[in-house]
Symmetry: C2
Subunit: 331 residues, 2 copies
């Protein structure tokens, strides 16, 4: 492939000047600039980022490592992020860890070897025993690590979702529509918002939430099915799109029609939710991606100054998307 020297020769300048032209053409005669771009065009010159990165110690490359690939949310997030990065001339490396700490370490290693400037990832609990060493290495690496949806690690920036707020808003909505026998399916911190919504109205939840402790989806499925049959909820509230899909399948099998026979609400938006007209607690994906991109840009730009891993923490609030899966039984 053509190099900057080839372009320089054709344009009758030095390769230093070519380099300058490709960095925006500051402090340069417009004529020279145009001549260089013309020459570059003729030769199909594509600046070698390996060389540039090696010299400048910035690769203009970010990495993202995904834990739960099944969730449509992440695909959309990755796409949004890549779009924003691309506009600023950044590239995106992708890797998957399936929630396995060892795989996550491997992904870090691979991306760090490629000298990614920043790596966004979802901290996996429980971390390996050599946690302290790992943290030190991460901090010493010169790479900006960005925690996604979980700020388990100290000293690193994070972008978070207000899970409690989302569950609160969702439950409140169901309560407002007259539902009391709400079955919250799934555990983690989101249940806090569930109970809080009842408290706000001086009520107590007649059906406790259903934790999904088992990793085996079949067992989860059975537990959900049983809970729906036995607890007779008027509404279900699912912790994720995945749990939502399983639950919707059970409802269909049971020939419960949504929303006539039972109301339905789930976290995370997806194409299926939209098509089935399911009300959902959505995440502001574009804004989340924008925030991650912003962290990446500011870190890479600030790299001239001594890199200060400012560990900023941003929280995004999920919002209700009303569709037609919830029946108003309030009168």
């Amino acid at each position: 492939m053509a190099t900057s020297k080839d372009v320089a020769k054709l344009a009758g300048v030095s390769h230093t000047t070519v380099s300058r032209a490709f960095k925006g053409g500051e402090r340069m005669r417009k004529e020279t600039y145009d001549r260089i771009l013309q020459a570059a065009g003729e030769l199909h010159y594509s600046p070698n980022l390996l060389a540039a990165g090696l010299r400048s110690q910035k690769s203009s490359t970010a990495g993202i490592v995904i834990s739960h690939s099944g969730v449509a949310f992440f695909m959309n997030l990755v796409q949004e992020l890549e779009n924003q990065l691309q506009r600023q001339g950044f590239r995106l490396l992708i890797s998957f860890d399936s929630g396995d700490p060892e795989k996550q370490q491997n992904a870090f290693q691979a991306m760090s070897s490629a000298r990614a400037d920043s790596i966004a990832f979802m901290p996996i609990a429980p971390p390996p025993k050599k946690k302290t060493e790992m943290l030190e290495q991460m901090k010493a690496s010169g790479i900006q690590y960005i925690q996604l949806f979980n700020d388990a690690l100290d000293g690193f920036g994070s972008v978070l979702i207000d899970d409690v707020g989302g569950a609160l808003a969702g439950t409140r909505h169901l309560l407002d529509k007259g539902h009391r026998r709400i079955l919250m399916i799934g555990g983690y911190n989101r249940i806090e918002g569930f109970y809080k919504a009842y408290e706000e109205k001086k009520l107590s939840a007649p059906i406790p939430h259903l934790p999904l402790l088992d990793d085996d989806l079949k067992i989860c499925r059975n537990n959900i099915r049983q809970a729906i049959i036995e607890r007779k909820p008027t509404a279900v509230f699912c912790i994720s799109d995945q749990i939502g899909a399983i639950t919707y399948g059970i409802l269909s099998e049971l020939k419960y029609h949504v929303p006539d026979d039972i109301s339905f609400l789930a976290f995370d938006d997806s194409f299926w939710s939209e098509s089935l007209s399911i009300s959902v607690i959505g995440q502001p994906i574009a804004e989340i991606a924008g925030n991650i991109a912003g962290k990446i840009f500011s870190y890479s730009r600030g790299a001239d100054a001594p890199r200060s891993p400012a560990s900023s923490r941003t929280v995004f609030t999920p919002f209700l998307i009303e569709r037609n899966s919830i029946r108003d039984i309030s009168q």
Copy 2:
């Protein structure tokens, strides 16, 4: 970060030897090898791929550019591919073009600047006017371009799906279950298999397929709805997971229960299809990913010899995954 020279100093060897150790340690005293790895471990040495790539002219990086990010299939494919690449020490760049030829060119440019060894992509029709120039540039780039699910471009390898075969198998299955009034929803080459299945049985299709010519999903939705109401099919066969989702939503709205009131079959597997127990024409994702990975590896390895862009063409056959969305009405 530590460099090979740092490791060399600590291990008491030259950095040449360090490099050799990291390439597998051929022709080297085991003792030396161990000493180097030990030193590298202490220093958290991570070989600089930018430097290695610059010198060796191979980056051990592949790229994939996705057109239809909405389809769960692609997320799974990317994950499978990344897993296989990762095991061989390759990294994966990802980009999205939303089916826009210009965005696709930008993605090529960005990846080519990063000196990706191979780029997998879905050829977009209609290509830009400067098609010939584009093709020449792609061929001259030294990058292996791999066409996905479409071999519109001459001279590049491709991995394809036998769409006709998939539609044939699906329609045949429906016919075997006694269905005749099958509404095939969606167009493209898959419809060929649809009609072929009827021909095999000396039948002619009582309901023509429903092409989805409009880009506007709302209009598509209306067309599908109307066709279902007016044509009274006993079974629908959807061209993709996305169309499947829309159609399933319409059925649910119409209070048609699957499979009691109507049978349902769609292309592409997804978590929602599985959860709703929808029979599906699935793609052998792991094998497809394996084939792409294989093309990437063999090209990168063969790079010692003059790079011969062997334009191999591999076709994968979709297969039926039977679940419970099709009623047997054959007796």
